[in-house]
């Protein structure tokens, strides 16, 4: 007896046997159906191929199709839906199984979107929600669907779900960037308004008293008074400009922090000495300046930006001294956990609660300060900005008429004495520069003298050019030049034009821009136009040496 059915041509057959039941319900026999398996097989493999193609496309597009039957709530879906979440498809049979992993905050939105479509209030069902993946974190999805079948008993909704986590991330970034841009613009307007106001005051003083000086019948004392006023207004303006540069650098993220090993007690003592002298110049002999720190006789080596630390101390102590007529200004530090906790306290005029709220904001000055004392209202904003960059923080306590106490913390990073920069500089032997010739184009005499001083000890030969034209001429004349240091703003021919002429002569010649424009946008522009590097004035000796060592041919 044959157990399987195959015809003479070797085709296999699918067998179906059903009872044959007459209209009156009597079983009359069986009906046997034989279907060529190869036909089925072909149809099936075509189906499989289609399914495979669809699945591949779904995976490529981070998508999956789904169907939901209502009212039963049963779902069928392409396995990529659970695959994208790292979950098993078998665990999801009912739409509630998916609702369990939808983010609680998105649940209501998803349900509302579905109901809106089911009740005919929306042409399609569309929503975005997060689902929890196998690792327990959430991924974003966009879900779109539509009713594809509807009769009295059931509805069928079919749709596509797409993974959009990356798109969401970019969207969030864009939103944030837009917000930042709006804030920056708002800030810029406010900044301009404030700056114009702050500039007008000293400038009107200068203009006014300068014209008063023209009068011929002035006695020597009055003249001196007017000149003093002009001078102090000029200084105020200069301070304001320096502060503005600092603030804009902080805002633009351009303020550089150069952390290096240094000795803290030396910095503190230098600051103390500086203010001891300054208080006499300011007529504050009655104010005691006291420095306190633990283990005074020892040295403490830390890693910090010493210039910025000094700037913070000078700002705070300068303020304290300014607002204190008698009593004292105390400053010092303690080590607390992993932080250096500094303080500057005074017995000066203090601040009201209202003042305290805005004390670290730009251009905000306390009522009292505004009336009696000069200043730009930028000092504390700068201090706070620098501390943010150093990973620190600042706070203040104050009572009107009693004095103020500023406390700031900086991460304490211990250093070894042998790490100090002086030793590091010695270590660089500059051997690679030995015998090299360098062409420097610089039109300002003072800058040239400065460069001569800092390059004095280097084993290099220097050709000096006073403008771009001379630089090009010198370059054509001397073939031994291995590096060009180029000022940008120069008479006759500027640095950028000279650079092009030099590169025409010798493509690949390293030309470094040296300018007073220190913003990074300028730097990018210089690099684009063909400079290999850029250093900003005032030039730091070590930085210059590093650049020369790096680029000299």
């Amino acid at each position: 007896m044959k157990k399987e059915i195959q015809d003479n041509d070797g085709n296999w057959y699918l067998l179906g046997i059903s009872p044959l039941i007459s209209p009156c319900g009597k079983t009359e026999g069986v009906i046997i159906i034989l279907v060529n398996n190869s036909v089925l097989k072909n149809a099936e493999s075509e189906l499989d191929a289609t399914e495979e193609r669809l699945t591949r496309a779904m995976i490529a597009g981070n998508m999956a199709w789904w169907e939901m039957e209502l009212p039963s709530g049963k779902i069928t879906f392409n396995h990529n839906k659970t695959r994208m979440l790292g979950l098993k498809g078998e665990d999801f049979k009912h739409f509630r199984d998916f609702m369990k992993i939808v983010h609680p905050d998105d649940n209501e939105g998803a349900m509302n979107a579905m109901y809106a479509h089911l009740y005919g209030n929306a042409d399609i069902y569309v929503c975005e929600y997060r689902m929890k993946n196998a690792q327990g974190s959430y991924q974003w999805f966009q879900d779109v669907g539509k009713i594809v079948h509807k009769d009295q008993d059931r509805q069928l909704i079919a749709g596509i779900v797409t993974e959009i986590t990356e798109r969401k991330r970019i969207e969030a970034q864009l939103k944030e960037a837009k917000l930042q841009a709006e804030l920056a613009n708002q800030y810029k307007n406010q900044f301009l308004a404030n700056v114009s106001h702050e500039i007008r005051t000293p400038v009107s003083g200068m203009v006014g008293f300068a014209s008063l000086l023209r009068k011929e019948d002035l006695d020597a004392e009055t003249k001196k008074l007017y000149i003093d006023i002009i001078e102090s207004s000029s200084k105020q303006l200069l301070n304001l400009i320096n502060d503005i540069i600092d603030v804009s650098r902080i805002e633009a993220g351009e303020l550089k922090i150069n952390k290096e090993p240094c000795e803290l007690h030396k910095i503190l003592k230098e600051t103390e000495t500086m203010f001891e002298q300054l208080k006499h110049a300011r007529g504050k002999e009655n104010v005691q300046i006291r420095l306190n720190f633990p283990e005074k006789d020892k040295e403490l080596f830390i890693v910090i930006d010493p210039d910025r630390l000094k700037q913070i101390l000078i700002n705070l102590i300068g303020n304290a001294l300014k607002f204190t007529e008698k009593g004292g200004v105390d400053f010092g530090y303690i080590i607390e956990n992993d932080y250096l906790k500094f303080y500057v306290s005074d017995s000066g005029i203090g601040m009201t609660d209202e003042d305290l709220k805005v004390v670290f904001e730009r251009f905000k000055r306390s009522e009292q300060a505004h009336k009696k004392y000069e200043g730009t209202g930028l000092g504390l904003a700068i201090t706070k900005g620098i501390l943010d960059l150093l990973g620190g923080s600042i706070s203040v306590e104050s009572k009107e008429g009693k004095g103020s106490r500023f406390t700031f913390r900086i991460p304490y990073v211990p250093a070894e004495a042998r790490d100090l920069k002086a030793e590091k500089e010695q270590a660089s032997d500059m051997a690679s520069l030995s015998g090299k010739s360098i062409l420097i184009a610089e039109d300002e005499m003072i800058n040239r003298m400065y460069l001569e001083i800092i390059l004095k000890d280097l084993p290099v030969h220097i050709y000096w050019a006073q403008n771009g034209l001379e630089a090009v001429e010198l370059f054509m004349k001397h073939s031994d030049i291995s590096l060009v240091l180029m000022d940008i703003k120069m008479p006759l021919m500027d640095g950028e034009e000279a650079l092009q002429k030099i590169l025409e002569q010798k493509p690949g010649m390293p030309v470094v821009a040296q300018t007073a424009n220190a913003l990074s946008s300028d730097r990018e522009r210089y690099l684009e136009s063909g400079f290999v590097d850029h250093i900003s004035k005032p030039i730091d000796r070590q930085q210059l040496i590093t650049v020369m060592e790096k680029w000299a041919l």
Partner: protein
């Protein structure tokens, strides 16, 4: 009978064979395709279906349970 067979043939198409047996599993009707597939030599109504254990077993099951029996061949 012949006429009826032709009708079945028309109805059944190329690759589908149809065969009807009575409660005693004797042949009632068949299509040419069924005849060809099962290699039946001029079968007559009322004759026992020869040689196919799998059909006999399936038919018994279908009659017992009054449900459809399906078997897919390995090929």
């Amino acid at each position: 009978m012949k006429k009826t067979n032709t009708e079945y043939n028309k109805f059944s198409g190329d690759d589908i064979g149809t065969l009807i047996l009575d409660n005693d599993l004797k042949i009632v009707r068949y299509t040419e395709e069924a005849k060809r597939i099962l290699k039946l030599k001029d079968p007559q109504p009322g004759q026992q279906l020869p040689g196919y254990d799998i059909i006999i077993t399936g038919a018994h099951k279908a009659l017992e349970t009054l449900t459809t029996y399906e078997k897919r061949n390995s090929g």
